[in-house]
Symmetry: C2
Subunit: 414 residues, 2 copies
């Protein structure tokens, strides 16, 4: 039996029996309409979708290829390698094989009977070399930046998407529950982080966290103990940790964890591409009072943020409120990073990627909307000593919020 | 104590005590010279290095920022966030704080006393939006594609680099040795994959494998059992597996592994950014004869490749030889993929990224050189039934090759 015939006959059944959930037709239609609204605003006649997560969002598959999406007319999914698998995964009707990138215009002409006058591309990620290639292939079209169309469409999650994020959150809950059985004095940060990741995978966590960026890499083994919690690194984050080398200078290190010090675990889980992000504190024996007090302050700030979350609330105003509260609680200089390196956000949008809209941050004054999802993460950092923090992923509901990461907030002490 | 003072005083000692190896001054100088040779050939006056691995290769740090490298004059390292940490990690002399991307030209002018007439950038990865930003900031300069300069410089590894790859290979060896203690009938592919990754991390594996590409993601949990080994997916690879969802349709799945079927484990490890890639076969009880025979063919093809490896040998010729040998052994239709989906490479360059030069592949006719490193991976794929394969990472030496992944070649049977 050849590969294509086998996929056509048996792939759907096998994959469904092993937990695959395909994106329903109706869901894809709604997403296409959201994107088309954005295209109208930007006066974009057609999109060529290249980046993997935009592509998955609109097609339901991540098989390699391009998605052509005209404002008027039907989308065309062009697949480079395994056509049959893409046909199982995507509810789109027009799915064709793409033998060479040079054939993109002719396939579009055949499908749509013309070529676009202007073509939207993801300028925030598309490599320059590909841009020049498309300039050559679509020599009659103006190439336009459509990044904002995708970011705006994807910032509001459907119930289907929020359900997948909840599944990711449930995996995270299991990870934290089992973590206390593993943690031991003298274990290295990276051994602990690796075992947490192994637990998550056992429950179906996909292992990679995605970020919309050329250079920013996400990872789950962000286990920082004592002094490594006080170290800042490459990312715009309150603390980065030591990491394992100058090539990976973030997250868990080979440091052996000690009793009474704060152990911060910032763990993300991923289910069907959708992520949940959460942070909890661990300690071996009772944590020193300084850190317990600081953690209580994080809990207060976390709760104060959630008190404000509802449609219409302004993200920047919420952020400014946390600064005032941190000051009142005595942590002005250590809130969201060590003195001089404090970050300017208390929350980041999350979904298929870790840096989606909205940001609850300075410079991000816009109203929250129902269906937005973001992680709230107050953290307090003491250089040389350690860091504490609490983080949950939440969805904005009609009149408030829902927590998607249902893990208890107390310190996990072993 | 503030963060900067602490880093200056204690960071080097702490990080070294936890296994950090910094790239020596002499090594960086040699790399800069290799890149400058390429710049001369392309008539590039200066480079602005953005992409993380090119940046690490030339500066020794991955702290966020830009590296300005003129053909004549000294390099300037501009760091966005943690200046002190970059100064510890990089042997470069001129390391300055970059408050905003808008300051890049003025910092260069201050350091180099002028701005370049032409500026090389990584067009193969640099996002279009950044390209336009640099066009505005360097309005007097011609922006040029310097991708090939980096790819050519990095294709020959120094003894320092090969040593780090060997360290990665040693981690891989430990993973395979411990794997037999874990594997059990009824365990899911992803649980096994997660535990292997946890073992690797315990020994210092960095967890992320890097690929030079917008959409191609690497991962270590490529555990395929029986029928999932026969499934092809998005990547240009002999088999992709089922994966966990349409969002991550590659690698290990929630399928429970059974006795007597082929279990293919393609695992990559990473030490200080440098990777080793290897594949071995496992089985629970004795594997069916069909797969044992096919695996023996993979061993023959693997050995036949290595017989040819030495400076001056042509990569494409080696690839063509493997096609003839696979045919002779009776596997013409299943070699390197199922019928109709066979790939056209038997080896890929590896180092900081998984898709470096050279490729041992059709269309890649050029001589091997001393210091090149690549993975050799003959694989045989039967749709619906399973896949087998053997893979090692090797370095080209003065008169032959050296294997960097010293794991025994037999089937790991439990």
């Amino acid at each position: 039996m050849n590969h294509g015939d086998w996929v056509k006959k048996e792939f759907r059944k096998l994959s469904r029996s092993l937990g695959f959930r395909y994106i329903p037709d109706e869901e894809i239609k709604n997403r296409l309409n959201r994107v088309k609204d954005g295209m109208k605003k930007q006066e974009i006649e057609a999109l060529l979708v290249v980046q993997k997560m935009d592509f998955y969002y609109l097609s339901g598959t991540t098989q390699d290829g391009f998605l052509f999406l005209p404002l008027e007319g039907k989308p065309l999914l062009m697949i480079k390698r395994v056509l049959e698998r893409a046909k199982v995964e995507s509810p789109l009707e027009d799915v064709v094989l793409l033998k060479s990138i040079r054939d993109v215009p002719s396939l579009i002409r055949k499908h749509w009977r013309k070529l676009p006058q202007n073509l939207g591309l993801e300028f925030d990620l598309l490599p320059v070399r590909d841009y020049f290639k498309f300039q050559e292939l679509f020599s009659g079209a103006r190439l336009m930046d459509a990044s904002v169309v995708f970011r705006e469409a994807r910032k509001i999650k459907s119930p289907f998407e929020i359900d997948l994020m909840k599944k990711a959150g449930e995996i995270g809950k299991k990870v934290y529950e089992e973590a206390t059985k593993i943690l031991k004095e003298g274990m290295t940060e990276i051994e602990f982080g690796g075992l947490l990741e192994a637990i998550a995978k056992r429950y179906g966590h996909e292992g990679l966290l995605r970020v919309r960026s050329l250079n920013y890499e996400a990872y789950t083994w962000h286990v920082l103990s004592g002094p490594t919690g006080g170290i800042v690194s490459q990312s715009d984050s309150p603390m980065g940790g030591l990491g394992l080398s100058p090539a990976f200078p973030v997250g868990a290190s080979l440091r052996k964890m000690k009793a009474r010090e704060p152990i911060l675990v910032d763990f993300g889980t991923c289910f069907h591409g959708y992520q949940a992000d959460e942070t909890r504190m661990f300690s071996i024996g009772k944590m020193k009072k300084k850190f317990i007090d600081a953690y209580k302050a994080c809990q207060k700030i976390h709760d104060a943020v959630l008190d404000e979350v509802r449609p219409g609330a302004d993200g920047e105003a919420i952020f400014m409120k946390t600064l005032r509260l941190a000051k009142k609680l005595g942590y002005e200089r250590n809130f969201l990073g060590p003195p001089g390196l404090q970050t300017r956000f208390i929350g980041h949008g999350i979904g298929l990627e870790l840096n989606e809209l909205p940001f609850i941050a300075q410079g991000h004054s816009y109203p929250l909307e129902e269906g937005m999802t973001f992680a709230v993460e107050p953290k307090i950092v003491f250089p040389r000593e350690g860091a504490v923090g609490l983080e949950n992923t939440v969805a904005v509901t009609k009149d408030g919020y829902e927590i998607l990461t249902p893990i208890e907030h107390g310190i996990f002490q072993v």
